[in-house]
């Protein structure tokens, strides 16, 4: 057999070998792929093929009406360790413990005692940029020196709510906790709008399968009616007033009576919203967070404005109606006296308001009758929520005939603000009818919403017309005259203002506390074209128990800052500037 005859046989043997090896490989592949372990390997493979990631939209920002940022977002980091890459838990525990303010043992335990299946462990979240930058520099230095001691250390950035103005308007804004939920104020009321809609997406690790993720729109940006500069001034005045008059707490509200826009809403105590952990040390319960809307109290004589409005509107009295004040009146079998227990003789209705005569107002409500009086109080919204777009509003209490705890004397006492509880905002809303030609406005804090480049303005809403425009103008004038005749400390030179003081004893379980009062003031201006309304409530002032000596001068200070910041010229100048 020569070489030519051997060649085909050898070739066939070689081919057969290759075929056999190939078949063997294929058989083995099929066997492995269908083995019991295959499913385990496949599931392990799937585990690393990608992951479901939740894409949280950036929480919407909050601005004041002039575009100043009140609530934004800043980058913070989650500091963690990739356990598979970790080489030296000792060094990691030491470094992370010292940089993050944790103990060595705490970190070391986390690193070494985590379940075997864990790939990654979080050491601390919400770490600031400065700390992370320092850690990064350290890691870089060690990497440059081929030192693996900090291998595995990872930093994952994400956003956290931030309040650049710290405690400014904290009672209005509310705060967001680390779980992304808003509490109190705007943050709670508009939480769904601000937070946006998170989207969960499967993100493959295989770049062949990578695709663009659907756009996750940011949360809605809100523009508030608040004026940041006025808010800051009002808060400053409130702080000063608490200090000067030794008051426990206080509230000041500034509203535009024409449309219900809240321009400033200050309440104490305030809290740096970036450290919301202080909440529990500052507040005993949620109603204290924003006393302007969350705490109802007996307002005292400021409520006489509503009684007089109802009586004028019902035709029970006119400004010139006279009343002989004998110092006391009996209503429902109970004797009611004036604040100083004196008799004030003959008074017209302006005098009754000017001297804040309880007896006169109790007489007026008695003349009006139960049905008429309470009908007006209902129409002014007492006992009902104002509907302000803030979370945590209280509704107060207006006892009406038929209620188990209503007594005939309540008709007399309610007329001067005793036995009825309201929030400062409810009073402001009710009195807005007098400053706004009989139309009551619904107070609101949201000015506009911005979403996907579109702006949605919030229209102002009227909450009814409890009195006629004529009655409103008459009472407006009466209250301006009473302030002027009283030479009140509430007056502001150059501007004609209207307003009313209120000093109320504080009810306790054992009757009224004679030594402590709540002092209030409601006022607005300029009288011929009201552009701002102010409500003040100071709790238990100690230097004086009277509103005329505490809340009234505070009103004057607030009015002064308001006319400056809102560019409202003095009456004389305004008359010259107004186009004829």
């Amino acid at each position: 057999m020569n070489m030519r005859q051997h060649y085909p046989i050898r070739s066939l043997i070689v081919v057969a070998c290759f075929v056999l090896v190939g078949l063997g490989v294929i058989v083995q592949m099929i066997r492995i792929q269908n083995s019991e372990q295959a499913m385990i390997f496949l599931s392990q493979g799937d585990r690393y093929a990608g992951e479901f990631q939740m894409f949280y939209p950036e929480r919407g920002e909050i601005y004041d009406r002039n575009g100043h940022l009140l609530a934004g977002n800043r980058t913070v980091y989650e500091v963690g360790v990739s356990l598979s890459e970790m080489e030296n838990p000792d060094s990691l525990a030491y470094i992370l413990g010292s940089y993050l303010g944790l103990t060595y043992e705490e970190v070391y335990k986390k690193l070494t005692e985590s379940p075997e299946s864990w790939e990654y462990i979080v050491i601390q979240d919400y770490v600031g940029v400065e700390t992370v930058e320092s850690l990064r520099q350290l890691v870089q230095q060690l990497n440059d020196a081929d030192d693996p001691r900090l291998n595995g250390l990872a930093f994952k950035p994400h956003l956290q709510r931030s309040y650049p103005e710290k405690d400014l308007a904290s009672n209005v804004l509310g705060f967001v906790t680390r779980d992304g939920r808003g509490y109190f104020g705007i943050e709670e009321k508009y939480n769904d709008l601000l937070a946006g809609n998170p989207v969960q997406i499967w993100v493959p690790r295989d770049p062949n399968k990578a695709s663009d993720i659907p756009r996750v729109p940011n949360g809605t940006t809100l523009v508030l009616t608040l004026n940041r500069d006025l808010q800051a001034k009002v808060e400053s005045i409130l702080e000063q007033a608490l200090f000067e008059y030794g008051a426990q707490n206080g509230t000041i509200l500034v509203m535009d009576p024409r449309n219900g826009e809240i321009l400033a809403m200050a309440a104490t105590p305030r809290m740096d919203l970036n450290n919301y952990g202080n909440y529990f040390s500052l507040y005993d319960n949620g109603s204290q967070y924003n006393r302007a809307i969350g705490m109802a109290y007996e307002p005292g004589s400021v409520l006489k404005v509503l009684t007089m409005a109802g009586a004028l509107d019902a035709g029970t009295v006119r400004p010139e109606t006279t009343f002989i004040d004998t110092g006391s009146i009996v209503v429902g079998g109970i004797t009611i006296q004036n604040w100083n227990r004196d008799s004030w003789g003959q008074q017209n209705m302006i005098g009754c308001l000017q001297h804040s005569l309880n007896v006169c107002l109790a007489w007026i409500s008695s003349e009006m009758g139960v049905q008429s009086f309470y009908s007006y109080m209902e129409r002014f919204g007492l006992g009902h929520a104002t509907g302000i777009d803030l979370s945590g509003e209280a509704i107060g209490r207006l006892k009406v005939p038929g209620d188990g705890d209503w007594y005939p004397v309540d008709l007399g006492t309610n007329a001067f603000g005793q036995g009825v509880s309201v929030t400062p905002l409810q009073m402001l809303m009710a009195v807005s009818a007098i400053a706004n030609d009989g139309k009551m406005v619904t107070p609101h804090v949201l000015y506009s919403m911005l979403r996907d480049g579109h702006q949605y303005n919030v229209p102002s809403q009227h909450a009814g017309s409890p009195i006629s425009a004529e009655t409103a103008r008459t009472l407006n004038e009466m209250l301006a005259i009473s302030l002027e005749q009283e030479s009140s400390m509430a007056l502001l030179p150059g501007y004609r203002l209207a307003g009313k003081t209120g000093t109320a004893q504080i009810p306790t379980d054992y009757g009224y506390d004679a030594s402590h009062t709540n002092v209030s003031f409601v006022g607005w201006g300029p009288v011929d074209d009201p552009q701002f309304m102010v409500y003040i409530w100071l709790q238990t002032p100690t230097t004086s128990i009277w509103s005329s000596e505490t809340a009234a001068p505070v009103f004057s200070q607030v009015a002064e800052q308001t006319v400056i910041l809102l560019n409202i010229p003095p009456d004389v100048v305004r008359g010259q500037l107004t186009p004829k």
Partner: protein
């Protein structure tokens, strides 16, 4: 001497035909040569191999490009997220620097003091309207403008009577 007369039919093979036959045989033999068949097989095999290689190369090229594009998408996504975060950070930092407390401190340090009511001068500028803040200027107004409700929906019965009476008076 008389010449021979050629036969009518020459028994010798025609030379031309013979040569043609030989050529045909050679061609046939060439075509059937074993080495040529082998080369044909090898050629066909190589063709298949080259085709497959080309397809594989094309596939590899396309998948490589797709992988690179996919990676770029992932990186761009991360970049977008990082830029958005940076943007939010910068906005907040700017707000920190221009916050009320900081601005007040800076103003006082520069020698300014709060204005008093008597120090203000007011000037009427016909047609002047306070500009909207920048945040609102950037957005398109999409507020649904609800038509004003007829008075019948808002006025009370007394107001309606009042309006009727006033309308009747001129007559």
């Amino acid at each position: 001497m008389g010449g021979e007369t050629p036969p009518l039919h020459d028994p010798r093979p025609n030379k031309k035909v013979v040569m043609q036959g030989q050529a045909t045989q050679i061609i046939h033999a060439y075509k059937q040569a074993p080495w040529r068949v082998q080369r044909q097989w090898i050629g066909a095999f190589l063709l298949v191999v080259i085709g497959a290689a080309m397809i594989a190369a094309l596939y590899l090229d396309v998948t490589a490009r797709a992988a690179v594009a996919g990676r770029q998408i992932q990186e761009l996504r991360l970049e977008i997220t990082a830029i958005q975060r940076e943007n939010a950070d910068l906005e907040t930092q700017l707000a920190d620097l221009t916050s009320t407390a900081v601005m007040q401190q800076r103003a006082i340090a520069l020698g300014y003091r709060p204005v008093q009511p008597g120090e203000l001068d007011y000037v009427a500028v016909p047609g002047f309207a306070k500009p909207e803040p920048e945040i609102l200027l950037a957005a398109e107004d999409a507020t649904p403008h609800v038509e004003r409700q007829p008075a019948e929906y808002t006025q009370s019965l007394l107001e309606w009577f009042d309006e009727r009476i006033k309308l009747e008076v001129p007559r």
